[in-house]
């Protein structure tokens, strides 16, 4: 470190971060020279906890990995369990799952747009977007009974049906969302101060994005058309016509535009689902004490933030033997570091927020002693004792 450089810690508590995570910035004046991320502030041991719960109990635990992509995680989990069970779920349930997933995408992307506006100091846009986001929140509540953590997918189908007499009302609400989103797209693409703060900020090159295995809108903003809904179709995504949105440039404006356009695509998918909702039952029977045969499954789901990968290993019985989750934010962190380097301090919040980080979904914990070249893990009790000893030292 030279004389002119100094370190700025961003996080674990910082207004630009909604969740605890630490980034150590080496800055020279207003320029960022280097970044060092540190994960692991909010590890909750969900994977381990799942091994001691039945499949139905896990349904509600897995939903609580993340408040915003709860439906994506749950969908991925049910897909895994159904694959091991060899269960084929009714068509109607598939359409309702897709409908929920896309509603959740709309809600998440609108939330992100508001946050992005807040990070560049444009609070007025933030308030307006969040006001209009209430429409999709109301819609989610009408469909599922909840604003977040909808608990819609269950093993064998979905828990609640979409009543046909409500469909015109849902469509009207989707129409409002479409109109408002188009307006915000115009604002984002024309308002000069937004352009000042987003064009050419936090640029990620296409080659770097692929090399650092970025995913989701973070990757699509660099012009790479990768989407798990198209590449590895699940549910009924292969029957629904929709476009994969990509923008060139890889800067923050591209991130904004990708997400705005994805909201518009999602509205279209939702409308398609409502129009083509097949008749029939909404779920297959699966008993709360149901047993799952030996086997393993891995599934990809395109969550709002990118590709969500779940792996299930069953050795028979009513509990999973091993469950592994890779939330999209973890895959996005290396490319985030690349985006942050060489920018201004003032651009840190918007670039950090740019990947729509959800660190709590991501966190994992392994102890590594570099000097002794040893890695180990601890149980909750050991960790607590270790903490007490550390502070008493």
């Amino acid at each position: 470190m030279t004389e002119r450089e100094f370190l700025i810690p961003v996080g674990p508590q910082h207004p630009a971060l909604k969740e605890p995570e630490n980034f150590l910035f080496k800055v020279e004046g207003e320029y960022v020279v280097d970044v060092e991320p540190r994960l692991g502030y909010n590890h909750r041991g969900i994977e381990k906890a799942m091994e001691s719960r039945t499949y139905i109990q896990n349904l509600y635990l897995i939903e609580r990995i993340c408040g915003i992509c709860s439906n994506a995680h749950q969908t991925c989990y049910t897909l895994n369990v159904e694959e091991v069970l060899g269960m084929e779920i009714p068509e109607r349930a598939k359409y309702i799952r897709v409908f929920m997933a896309e509603l959740e995408r709309i809600h998440s992307h609108l939330l992100w747009l508001g946050v992005a506006a807040h990070e560049i100091g444009f609070d007025t846009l933030f308030f307006y977007i969040w006001r209009d986001r209430e429409v999709v929140m109301d819609l989610l509540e009408m469909v599922s009974g909840n604003r977040v953590n909808y608990a819609m997918p269950t093993i064998g189908g979905v828990r609640r049906d979409i009543p046909s007499d409500k469909i015109p009302q849902y469509k009207k609400m989707l129409k409002i969302l479409e109109e408002r989103t188009k307006y915000y797209k115009e604002v984002a693409a024309k308002e000069q101060t937004i352009l000042n703060r987003t064009v050419g900020v936090g640029v990620l090159k296409k080659a770097d994005a692929v090399r650092l295995s970025a995913t989701g809108p973070n990757l699509r903003s660099c012009g790479v058309a990768k989407d798990a809904r198209v590449d590895t179709p699940y549910l009924v995504y292969d029957q629904i016509p929709f476009n994969v949105i990509t923008y060139d440039g890889g800067d923050q404006l591209a991130q904004i535009l990708v997400r705005v356009d994805e909201v518009l695509e999602s509205v279209k998918i939702c409308e398609y689902c409502l129009d083509h909702l097949p008749d029939g039952p909404i779920r297959e029977k699966f008993s709360p004490l149901g047993r799952v045969p030996e086997g393993e499954a891995v599934n990809f789901v395109e969550a709002q933030r990118g590709e969500d990968i779940h792996y299930l290993q069953s050795r028979g019985g009513d509990k999973p033997y091993r469950y592994k989750i890779r939330a999209p934010t973890l895959a996005n962190i290396p490319s985030l570091i690349e985006r942050l380097k060489g920018g201004y301090i003032a651009d840190i919040p918007i670039v950090l927020a740019g990947i729509d980080p959800c660190f709590s979904c991501t966190d994992r914990m392994t102890f590594i002693d570099i000097e002794k070249e040893k890695t180990w893990e601890m149980t909750g009790d050991q960790l607590r004792r270790y903490g007490i000893e550390w502070y008493n030292r």
Binding site: F6, L7, I8, P9, H14, P15, A16, G29, E30, A117, H118, E119, I120, G121, F122, D123, T124, L125, F127, Y128, R131, E191, T193, I194, N196, R197, Y344, I345, A346, D347, I348, P349
Partner: protein
Amino acid sequence: MVQSIGDIIQIFVFPGFLFLLNYALFAEWLSRKFAARLQNRIGPLHTGWKGILQPLADSIKLLAKEDITPSAADKLVFYATPIVIFALPLASLLLIPIQSITNLWSFDPVISFEGDLILILLSMTIVILSIFLAGWSSSNRFGAVGATRAALQMLAYEIPLGLASIGPAIFAQSLSIKKIVNWQIESFTSFLQSPSLLAIPVWLIMATGFAVFVICLLAELELRPFDIPEAETEIVGGWQVEFSGRKLLLLVVGRDIKMVLAAALLTSLFLGGAAGPWPIPPLGWFIIKTVVCIFILSNLSILLARYRIDQMLYGSWKYLIPVSVLQAMAVIALTGVM
């Protein structure tokens, strides 16, 4: 003796400290409520009528909070700067004509002398320097970044601010705010009696000066597009990150007073001060005009996203300073004609 009691009332009660402090809190409520309505929110609601006592409640809360001084801070500067930031704008407001306590229809300032405009501009500069010292002395990294940003930002708007306020002073041939106000009243009344075309360029120049002054005041008050030194999402409050309790209270109220001072300066230099048609006394006109100025400032502050410091400096030196220089040159040329 009567004279001195009058002075004491003028300085401490009306239109001095007591009135100004209350008015500052009112101004904060007003700008918050106004911005909230524009942003489709409700704003303060529960304390008093439509939340009018919210700034007071916040102040009392801050008084009760723990006052922490970082052990690495430069103690003397850390203690002194909040007081300076609070006291200087308050004292400067005594130079602004608001309302005389002896005559209902006159609005002599408490103190007035040739050159008090310069004194106000000087005190505003000292406040910014104190902000720099406050951020620097707190020994916080975010504080240091915020402090350097405050100093850099000062380079951008201090010059146009001075040039824009010089315009009315040259027209009035005086550096005293009272005389500038009197010149505006005289020229306006003479215009009403015998309208002449010469008034149009004067008004155009004054309007340009007003616009430049408003933009500079947005930066001076650290309002939205220029809240770079304290950018909450970027550097966590910047220079004031380490202040808490009573010191933070002084900073918050000092900022409200600065807002009133800004509105009062706009009123006195460009809008004819506390003067106005008959049925409303000068105090009423002062409040009406400053409220309009506060509306203008808070409306502008919600319209735009925050600039980056380099963009702010670039924009200021490329557009704002040339405009203000042209404005000052036009004033000089026009006074030669007149």
